[in-house]
């Protein structure tokens, strides 16, 4: 067992798969609900959360950070809403202002006060999946990389959430008004989705960083939309795409000596291109 | 073939607007089917029909904003490119960015932009004409007000002024009275009637059946197909109208003028507004 986790390649691929998978899972619902760019906003906004949490508590990882991130993610959405509701700034401009501003402030704070800790702006932006195996924690006598653990937990949590609230998520995706009328509480489910997205973003930060998180959230989901008829299909295709991208990406990165995170994210483009070509029609007809 | 209900006399009038077999498809949905609209010069015409009937689409085809999948359009005897300068367009208010920094005068002046050469800017002459147009619609004192601060009716009047300033022969208006307060409605209708009396042709997409006969003397009933067109009386009495709008009461009400309680069958104002 230990040998497995000592295998760097295996660890990296597994981390990538869990990061991509957890992200794509939530991303499917967000995209279907027309909230794709929320992932962009949240992933950038949480950086402020990370910076502030670090300044307040000194923690760079762990449940404290996850909570701080959750709060920051929700805050990003709330502030954007408030700005747009004021009537003085259009919605798209509000979005394009709030999360970059929060991100910029977060990066600034990290640059000033977290120089020597591994939450530097570069890591935050691009992740360092190649080094995740360095930081391990003992689990049942096995030294398991911390990221893997966190991402594994996150994946399970997201899976549980989706399974538990599938009905409501599906209903709200297509008609939030109806869902509310039928007592399916779309608002609560929305909030849950946002919070989990924020937490997943923090968990995935180590591995792939802020922007590639967005890639994993949106591209697999879109592949799902192109290939599948129903929501369940969309989610499954998204997960498949994410898994494929993690594996293929690692293989390509090692073979060509390129950025692992970048390759994994870029590999989501392969299923996308396939979905866009006539192959798709063949698939749909079979 | 659309039932043309024109009397032999009106058949001889020259046409301000003629479409021939215009067909528009949005993907697999047919929005307009072989519509051959013929509006005579000098008509005060309304384009009516239920939600989704394609009224706005037809207007846009006529103005060259949408290319039809089939069919041709003739305006004032010529095709669009030649007739453009003589056609004034008053679009629906919903298409515009009302947060744009501009006052009413600025917006009206934009109606003259196409007259200016490639690199020229509007000058005193243009501003003068814009001011005159605003006076015509009763908005002269609000000339310097930001458009985002105007009421719906005032915005509509500004749009009308913008078309007026071009001094066109044919006016095409898309739901000019939707969501407009009584004072603005009166002002707009007054201007339209003045224009019509001076020989201009007015074609408006209109949603309120109650005021149809009061304001317009020529109607075209559209529901993807052109079901009927001709003098208002004739269209209102037609089978096509009854089939589309159901109740005889509504028909009578529309023909006679303002009629109190709407019947259950008639499309409500809210539906009509939500339409285009």
């Amino acid at each position: 067992m230990q040998a497995l986790f000592d295998d760097i390649g295996f660890t990296i691929v597994l981390t990538g798969m869990l990061a991509a998978g957890s992200t794509a899972l939530l991303g499917s619902f967000l995209v279907v609900r027309g909230q794709a760019l929320l992932t962009d906003a949240i992933s950038h906004g949480i950086v402020l959360g990370i910076a502030v949490t670090f300044l307040l508590t000194g923690f760079t990882t762990g449940p404290v950070q996850l909570l701080g991130a959750g709060a920051a993610g929700v805050a990003t959405v709330l502030v954007t809403e408030a700005l747009s509701a004021s009537g003085r700034v259009r919605r798209d401009a509000a979005t394009g202002l709030v999360f970059p501003a929060m991100f910029a402030l977060g990066v600034l704070l990290l640059s000033l006060f977290a120089r020597d800790v591994h939450v530097d702006p570069h890591t935050v932006l691009l992740g360092e999946i190649g080094y995740v195996w360095l930081d391990t924690v003992p689990l049942l006598g096995v030294a398991v990389p911390r990221s893997l653990l966190v991402l594994g937990a996150m994946f399970l949590l997201n899976l549980l959430f989706v399974a538990a609230f599938y009905e409501r998520l599906a209903a709200a995706a297509f008609d939030p008004v109806q869902a509310g009328l039928r007592g399916l509480h779309p608002k609560a489910v929305s909030a849950g989705l946002l919070a989990l997205t924020s937490m997943t973003a923090v968990a995935a930060l180590d591995a792939v960083g802020v922007v590639l998180f967005v890639t994993f959230a949106i591209v697999p989901a879109v592949v799902g939309l192109l290939l599948a008829r129903r929501l369940s299909g969309v989610v499954l295709v998204a997960l498949g795409t994410a898994g494929f991208a993690a594996v293929a990406g690692y293989w390509a990165a090692v073979a060509l000596d390129l950025s692992i995170g970048g390759c994994m994210a870029a590999m989501t483009g392969i299923p996308l291109l396939l979905a866009l070509t006539p192959l798709k029609r063949a698939w749909q007809m079979s | 073939m659309a039932a043309s209900l024109r009397s032999p006399a009106s058949a001889a009038r020259p046409l301000a607007l003629a479409t021939r077999d215009v067909t528009v498809d949005y993907g697999s949905v047919r929005a307009l089917q072989e519509v051959s609209l013929q509006v005579p010069v000098g008509a005060m015409a309304a384009l009516i029909g239920p939600n989704g009937a394609g009224k706005s689409t037809l207007l846009k085809v006529v103005l060259g904003l949408i290319r039809p999948d089939a069919g041709r359009v003739t305006l004032l005897g010529e095709d669009l490119a030649a007739a453009r300068g003589r056609v004034g367009y008053v679009p629906q208010r919903s298409t515009v960015n009302w947060d744009f920094p501009a006052d009413a005068l600025d917006v009206v002046t934009m109606g003259l932009y196409h007259r200016l050469g490639l690199f020229r800017r509007p000058g005193k002459k243009e501003l003068g004409r814009a001011t005159a147009a605003l006076e015509q619609v009763g908005m002269a004192d609000l000339a310097r007000r930001q458009i985002g601060q105007l009421s719906g009716g005032q915005q509509q009047r500004v749009f009308l002024a913008r078309a007026l300033v071009q001094e066109p022969d044919l006016f095409m208006l898309d739901e000019p009275l939707a969501g407009v307060d009584a004072a603005s409605e009166a002002a707009i209708v007054k201007v339209l009637k003045q224009l019509n009396a001076a020989g201009k042709t007015v074609v408006a997409v209109h949603h309120d059946l109650n005021t149809l006969a009061q304001y317009f003397e020529w109607l075209a009933l559209l529901d993807v197909n052109l079901l009927a067109q001709g003098p208002a009386r004739a269209v209102l009495d037609s089978d096509a109208f009854e089939r589309t709008y159901g109740s005889v009461l509504v028909r009578r009400g529309a023909a006679a003028g303002p009629w109190p309680p709407r019947t259950v069958d008639a499309p409500g104002r809210a539906d009509a507004e939500a339409a285009s």
Binding site: V31, L97, A104, L212, A265 | L65, R84, N97, P101, H114
Partner: protein, 282 residues
């Protein structure tokens, strides 16, 4: 203090920042009014592969090559997202997200490839992520100045066309203006606005510099002309302030500083500009 201001490097940095800030801010007025803030963000992130490509093709650090590459991939991403959003069930925001995410990922890969090449360090490719004003060379000023002049000339000459197409595209079309062509031009100007600041502000944050000054300027403007010039001035101010501070303090990337300043300007404008009753609209 005076000697600081007269330092040729400082002057170069300040001048460069002023030019790009002014251009990005002013052109941003059109972008914001046309609700293109998010397209700007996509084009900005999508510029990364272009920067790497420009470097690889030029074989060395060449700002013109890198910015040209950025324009190409940025516009390609915009076109790609347009195509995607025309597909059934793919909405505009998802299409933009795909373009943003994919192109940026490719950019990261390209970056990692380029960084293994000789001369990459000199190219300062990494700095294109968060920007570095101190990387501005004297020679860069020529490019920035030229772009500013060209953009300025185009906007001046075609002012009324751009204005009417921005305000009411349908009416403009009906009045005989070629809406498609002018809208394409406006998108091209947006791409230009973004690309011009990439070295100083970085791909991740550049779009905020395009959006913020225009949003701030809007609070004070009663006409497009005023908004345009004011946005330019506020953009220049934010860029110069951020650039100068980051040039003085080592280890601080320029982009975040510029955006923080620009955001502060927006916040102050929202708080202090005379109340304007706005029509609440989605």
């Amino acid at each position: 203090m005076v000697s600081l201001l007269l330092d040729p490097i400082v002057i170069t940095v300040a001048l460069g920042a002023a030019l790009l800030g002014m251009t990005a801010g002013a052109l941003g007025a059109f972008a914001v009014l046309r609700r293109e803030s998010l397209i700007g963000d996509t084009m900005s992130h999508a510029a990364l592969p272009g920067v790497a490509l420009g470097f690889l093709l030029a074989g060395q650090r060449s700002l013109p090559a890198m910015l040209a590459g950025a324009m190409v991939t940025g516009l390609a991403a915009a076109l790609f997202s347009l195509y995607l959003s025309s597909l059934h069930r793919i909405k505009r925001d998802a299409a933009l997200g795909v373009a943003l995410g994919l192109f940026f990922a490719i950019g990261v890969v390209g970056l990692s490839y380029a960084q293994k090449r000789p001369g990459a360090a000199a190219a300062g490719l990494e700095t294109f992520l968060f920007g570095q004003a101190a990387a501005t060379l004297r020679s860069d000023l020529w490019l920035l100045g030229a772009v500013t002049l060209v953009a300025g000339a185009v906007v001046t000459l075609l002012w009324k066309q751009l204005k009417i197409v921005t305000f009411d595209p349908d009416f403009a079309q009906a009045a005989g203006f070629d809406r498609r062509r002018h809208e394409a031009l406006l998108t091209g100007l947006l791409a230009l606005a973004i690309v011009i600041g990439l070295q100083t502000v970085g791909v991740v944050l550049m779009s905020a510099l395009v959006v913020a000054p225009a949003v701030a300027a809007r609070q004070w403007s009663a006409s497009l002309g005023v908004m345009f010039w004011l946005a330019g001035a506020l953009g220049a101010f934010s860029a110069v302030t951020g650039a100068l501070i980051s040039a003085q303090v080592s280890g601080l990337a320029t982009g975040p500083l510029v955006v923080v300043v620009a955001t502060a300007v927006v916040a102050l404008s929202l708080l202090f500009a005379p109340r304007r009753a706005v029509q609440l609209e989605p």
